[in-house]
Amino acid sequence: MTNGSEVQKIVVTGLCKSFGNKRVLDGVEIDCTSGESLVIIGGSGTGKSVLVKCILGLLHPEAGSIRVDGAETVGLRHAARERLLQKFGMLFQGGALFDSLAVWENVAFGLMQGRGVERQAAKQIALAKLAAVGLGPEVSLLRPAELSGGMQKRVALARAIAAEPEVVFFDEPTTGLDPIMADIINNLIVKCVREVGATAVSITHDLVSARKIADRIAMLHQGRIIWCGPTAEIDHSGNPVVDQFINGRAEGPIKMEIRAG
């Protein structure tokens, strides 16, 4: 899917994952080059989050391969998995901020617990990252419950990039936000990812967001990647499922499947 001369950061081949009798991922094939921003789109319940959780090792696939920097990661355990996770940052859909910790402790958590950075040094980094997402030091002592949804997303973004990871995953980064705040978050994602030089893998069904942050877009449908290409080409994909999805039409192959089901 990518030019052979580019360095492949993540390569997923033949990935399968089921929950009970329901096969959510059915042979997913996708790759992502270093420094690229890949956005995976698809309807609700098509397995986008499952795919990202499999790459992170939070879920264990039944079959297939996930290679990061050329090394197989499926089946990694304990210390090896923790080393791999140090390459990753993740922004969860709901933020997943720790309720019991102050904002700056949330942002600095990975630095202090995962990398052994001293508390004061980690706090300075956290304050810098909060400033990068437009939040002042007065916010740093608040608890996540005291923040608005948009501010929580910003804090979650600051936490995701705090340790300057090689790959940042974004799970529905703009869901639940008003259009202006969604655009602010999109801009921050682009800015922050470029600043740290990271590879970005995002999952969303927000096409405005996808067009803004993606270098390349892939569509997940029925457990497989049915189309993948540069962002500019998505309007001319020639794939009726993609066309229906990006144009938000009720009529089309996706609805027919729902009726058949």
């Binding site: 959780k53 992170l56 090792g57 939070l58 923790e82 996770l85 140090q86 990753f88 940052g89 993740m90 969860f92 859909q93 709901g94 997943a96 901020l97 720790f98 309720d99 958590f109 990975g110 617990q113 995962g114 990398r115 936490r159």
Partner: protein, 258 residues
């Protein structure tokens, strides 16, 4: 008939799978204690939460238990002129049985439920997954401190409950039943042996571990939003209470069985 047997088999297999998962969960959590980092600050925080904040409820329960015990023993023993044994019965019952069991059940209701609710909420809001992605083992960070704190703190709490319970018996014995204070205290420690107190403290450590384990286990595997968290809380309290009573019998048989 075959369907009936299949249903029994399914229940039995589910029970075995659940037991296996619980043992594995406890084993993996305890195994994290043997490699760094061990979060001492979190252990201390949980000890304060389990021990210090449970003192009012445990103290109240213990004092009334001791008072009722003295009153009941007196009315029962007076039928065969054995009122003198009241102090001994109170101290042995409190240190061997009622102190650990009542404290264990109270802590199961207060702390076990809170642990299940907190960890369950973290599970359904992806906070546990977030811990993992931040290179932090959730078993090491969330579960081990609670298990160790339960194991260490319950014996301390039971020691306090023992003292308060015996004091409750003393209050009723002296001020309501008219015992001589010196004679009451004399009878209290005359037949009390180290083993009586130690057996109660060992039971307390086991109960503390059970309460923390059930709270963490049910919270960790909770699913399905608020309803799932509520269910986890119920399971944590009920399973901890039942296991406390079952293990109490087994420990009593081990300590005092002939």
């Amino acid at each position: 008939m075959l369907k009936f047997l299949a249903a029994i088999g399914t229940v039995f297999l589910t029970f075995l799978a659940g037991t296996g998962r619980l043992v594995l969960f406890a084993g993996l959590s305890l195994a994290t204690a043997f490699s760094p980092p061990v979060y001492i600050r979190l252990i201390l925080r949980e000890m304060v939460n389990i021990g210090y904040f449970s003192l009012p409820v445990v103290g109240l329960t213990a004092i009334f238990t001791g008072m009722v015990l003295a009153l009941q023993s007196y009315t029962g023993f007076s039928r065969f002129a054995a009122e003198g044994a009241v102090a001994t019965v109170v101290v042995l019952s409190v240190t061997r049985e009622l102190g650990p069991v009542i404290t264990g059940l109270m802590v199961a209701g207060r702390v076990g439920a809170a642990m299940a609710a907190e960890i369950g909420t973290m599970r359904v809001t992806d906070q546990i997954d977030a811990l993992t992605t931040l290179s932090t083992d959730p078993l090491r960070y969330l579960v081990l401190p609670r298990l160790l704190a339960g194991l260490i703190t319950l014996p301390m709490l039971v020691l306090v409950a023992d003292i308060i319970g015996v004091f409750g018996g003393y209050l009723v014995g002296v001020y309501r039943l008219g015992f001589n204070p010196e004679a009451y205290l004399n009878r209290t420690h005359q037949y009390l042996e180290t083993n009586d107190v130690v057996s109660g403290l060992v039971k307390a450590a086991v109960f503390g571990f059970i309460v923390a384990l059930m709270g963490c286990y049910h919270g960790y595997y909770s699913r399905g939003g608020a309803q799932g968290v509520g269910q986890a809380t119920t399971y944590a309290v009920v399973s901890a209470s039942v296991l406390i009573l079952v293990s109490n019998y087994l420990l009593t048989a081990a300590f005092f069985g002939r």
